[in-house]
Amino acid sequence: MNRISVLWLLVIGVLLNPGYAQQPARSIVVIVNPGVPQDSLSEEELGKILLGETRFWDSGGSITLLIQAPVSWERDVLLGKVMQMSEAQYRQFWISKVFRAEVASGPKVVLSNEMAGTLISKIPGAMGFVGDDEVPDGVKVMKINGLLPGDANYPFRF
């Protein structure tokens, strides 16, 4: 077997290796209670909600923010790529905010996407985040910058 054949075999082996194959991109979907009149948020508006700076919808109703527990994919993506905070920074940020009495509490923690879906469908003004392959029934999908998760240029595809 000459050197070129060996090289080809190596390339084919690497390409067939499952670990080499790229993970398909997933999108974070922003879901809200169906009673929320708004249909779209800008990235900046969403950022303010995540940081507790916006606590009321334009209609006046209060926003109840639900976020998955640590080590979930949704939380990792939200903190790391959307908010650009580490888990420790996120925790200290909210503890400081409650300590200064700026807010009564931090985001509520949900233990699963099913739990998020159930609570968001029931609680007026509630908002949460799930992967695009796990969007539950009974909730409304919020557009981001006027785009739905399947649209080209949707900002939260990772």
Binding site: F56, V98, A104, G125
Partner: protein, 404 residues
């Protein structure tokens, strides 16, 4: 009884109950006659009027049954946040314990601070902070803060109650939250038990936030009952009394509090002691540059006392600069820090007669034990200006936070 009369009586009753509650839990500091004294002068009327507005809004708000029953607020009604710290220290040299100035040594204190917050309605929330402190001399339980807040919109709130005075950066951002701060103790200007800078005050507060591009401009306006009653000057025959205080604070905050921020605050108040009337003027300014692994914080405070009928004014000032940086060492758990600070007290100012001008240099490190607890170890050198006495001590603290 009309709703207007009802809300007025409710509000004055609420103020009275809040004061009595505060006095009852801090009974070691206040005498019975003082406990029930309501300052129903001009300040009292302002506080009562603001409380009346809050109660009126509650009474008049068109809250439908659906809102009350299905609101998320009824699902999550009580939230708890607490801090705990334990302090120890020991002299290394230069100490004359009998005649020397007081320096914290030994098992200084163990303190637990609990915060209770509750969303009472879509826009109304209540907040209470209770502090328990054990020292060698005494045990104290004290109501630190209590407030009722109303969210006008996303950018503005009004509140009545007992607050951390928004004077200076440290008092509002850390106060008793030792886990939040990198160093073991507060800077000298905030560490005099609310004597140099006001620690708390009763009254009303209006908070407004303005968006400026990526930054936020925060405005706090407060009006109330002046300095808190734990303020006292040993050289004066009578306890210092303060009836009116106005405070304004303006802060420019970077996004996610990362980057350059700065701000300042103003305090105008009155003091009365041994029949003498004193006007108090305070100005503070701070600058904070916070990066992902390091923070630089510097603050200056200036306090002026103007005695009625006396020539001249007493000027006092203080400041500090602090730098800390998290190292890559041990998974980023090690966070060394350095702080330089000073206080300059006018020796002719009777109000600050219990304080001494000094300089302090601190070198230490914080180590994260886990997600919610840390230990801090530092070497501290205090130099007193009047006699050039220098004291060196080693200080340590365990600090933790818990919330659910």
């Amino acid at each position: 009884m009309s709703w207007r009369e009802l809300s007025a009586s409710l509000s004055s009753g609420t103020v009275r109950r809040m004061e009595v509650l505060q006095a009852s839990v801090s009974g070691q500091e206040y005498k019975g006659r003082e406990m029930l004294s309501l300052r129903l002068g001009f300040t009292g009327r302002v506080v009562t009027a603001m409380a009346t507005c809050m109660v009126s809004l509650m009474v008049a708000a068109p809250a439908s049954a659906k809102t009350l029953l299905e609101s998320a607020d009824t699902l999550y009604s009580l939230n708890l946040l607490g801090f705990f710290h334990l302090d120890v220290g020991e002299h290394l040299d230069g100490a004359d314990q009998q005649n020397g100035p007081p320096i914290d040594t030994g098992l200084q204190q163990a303190r637990m601070v609990g915060h209770f917050t509750s969303q009472l309605g879509p826009r109304i929330s209540a907040f209470m902070e209770v502090e328990g402190t054990a020292t060698e001399e005494s045990n104290k339980l004290r109501l630190e803060r209590i407030m009722l807040k109303y969210d006008i919109d996303n950018d503005s709130q009004i509140a009545v109650g007992r607050f951390h005075a928004p004077v200076g950066f440290w008092n509002q951002h850390y106060h008793h939250g030792r886990w939040l701060q990198t160093t073991k103790d507060r800077p000298l200007q905030t560490d005099f038990g609310g004597k140099f800078l006001p620690g708390h005050y009763w009254g009303g507060m209006y908070e407004r936030r303005f968006s400026l591009s990526s930054h936020t401009l925060e405005l706090d306006l407060g009006f109330g009952a002046g300095r808190d009653s734990n303020f006292s000057a040993p050289a004066l025959a009578a306890r210092v009394q303060s009836d009116i205080g106005f405070t304004a604070q303006l802060n420019l905050v970077p996004p996610k509090q990362l980057g350059l921020g700065f701000g300042g605050s103003l305090w105008l108040g009155d003091l009365e002691a041994a029949g003498r009337s004193i006007d108090e003027h305070i100005l503070t300014g701070h600058i904070r540059y916070r990066m992902s692994v390091a923070t630089l914080l510097a603050e200056l405070a200036w306090v002026e006392h103007d005695y009625a009928g006396a020539p001249g004014k007493q000027q006092n000032h203080a400041g500090y600069i602090e730098y800390n940086r998290r190292l890559d060492l041990l998974q980023g758990r090690v966070n060394p820090y350095v702080r330089l600070e000073y206080t300059k007290i006018d020796e002719d100012d009777p109000v600050f007669s219990g304080l001494r001008s000094r300089e302090r240099r601190t070198l230490g490190s914080r180590y994260e034990l886990g997600a919610f607890s840390a230990i801090k170890l530092e070497i501290r050198q205090d130099r007193f200006r009047n006699d050039s006495q220098t004291l060196t001590s080693v200080q340590a603290q365990y600090a933790s936070v818990f919330w659910w």
